[in-house]
Symmetry: C2
Subunit: 161 residues, 2 copies
């Protein structure tokens, strides 16, 4: 069941992976990318961060706070078909030699991040890119709407009240 | 100079036009549209509401709280080229015979709205639709990011601190 932990939690409520995500999202702004968290590209998958670039590049970034967190991820290869590039984001103590080849690497903390290795590019086909742009736009607008008008019901989102 | 009045103001701070916008945005959800407020399609223009539909329809909705508010709008015709359909949103006391022909009409209050007359469709060309989708996605994600991480700087947005 989806949780709503990306909706303006107090800082103290953020889990280690969410703190990494915060730093990554801050850093992506410096590349003129915008970001959303917890987007569902297709049923059963939910990415930590989807980033949309100035040329409509679509990147997926999975945040791993520990070896155990990484080892428990059975789904990451399923994300590859939904993005142009895939990255891991980990902190500086993470044993990065665990990470599979052919993936990007971002070192992050709660405040910023740095791209150490670009994920190889595998460009989305135009129709899928359009679909992902639409999903990104809808996801961002729905989350924003919930924050700017919390009393609004959200039919079909399972979040009405 | 842009103001940030769409960023979760207390309800009491909402102006009449913003209350109409709130009702309109709530109603658009029932049509499976998502919405953002105060989007800038091109330099010098800022729409009250841009709504994105389930088939990537792009509608612009201008909220007018009074005759004076409407009479002071010299820019609305400039919005037509940025959307598939254009609507006015007014309250039930507004003298709707003031409104130009060939535009849509929504009657709204702070809590809900109803589409009384569809704006005629003038479909965007595919390249412009893609641009508007991107602008919508970036606008929504940037506003959302500012709310979920208020301490983040926003380079290039003029809102850094």
């Amino acid at each position: 069941m989806p949780n709503d932990h990306s909706l303006t939690p107090p800082k103290s409520a953020l889990q280690p992976g969410q703190l990494l995500a915060r730093g990554v999202c801050r850093h992506m702004q410096t590349h003129n990318f915008v970001t959303v968290e917890e987007l569902v590209p297709t049923s059963g998958l939910r990415v930590d961060i989807m980033a949309l670039g100035p040329k409509c590049e679509i990147w997926v970034i999975e945040c791993k706070s520990s070896r155990a967190d990484f080892m428990g991820d059975q789904k990451w290869q399923g994300y590859l078909e939904w993005c142009d590039r895939f990255f891991w984001a980990v902190d500086e103590d993470f044993p990065t030699d665990l990470l599979p080849e052919g993936t990007g690497l971002i070192i992050a903390d709660a405040y910023d991040a740095e791209i150490l290795r670009m994920g190889p590019q595998s460009k989305l086909a135009a129709p899928r890119r359009r679909v992902m742009m639409q999903k990104f736009a809808r996801h961002a607008a729905q989350r924003l709407h919930r924050l700017r008008d919390p009393d609004s019901a959200f039919p079909g989102s399972g979040l009405g009240r």
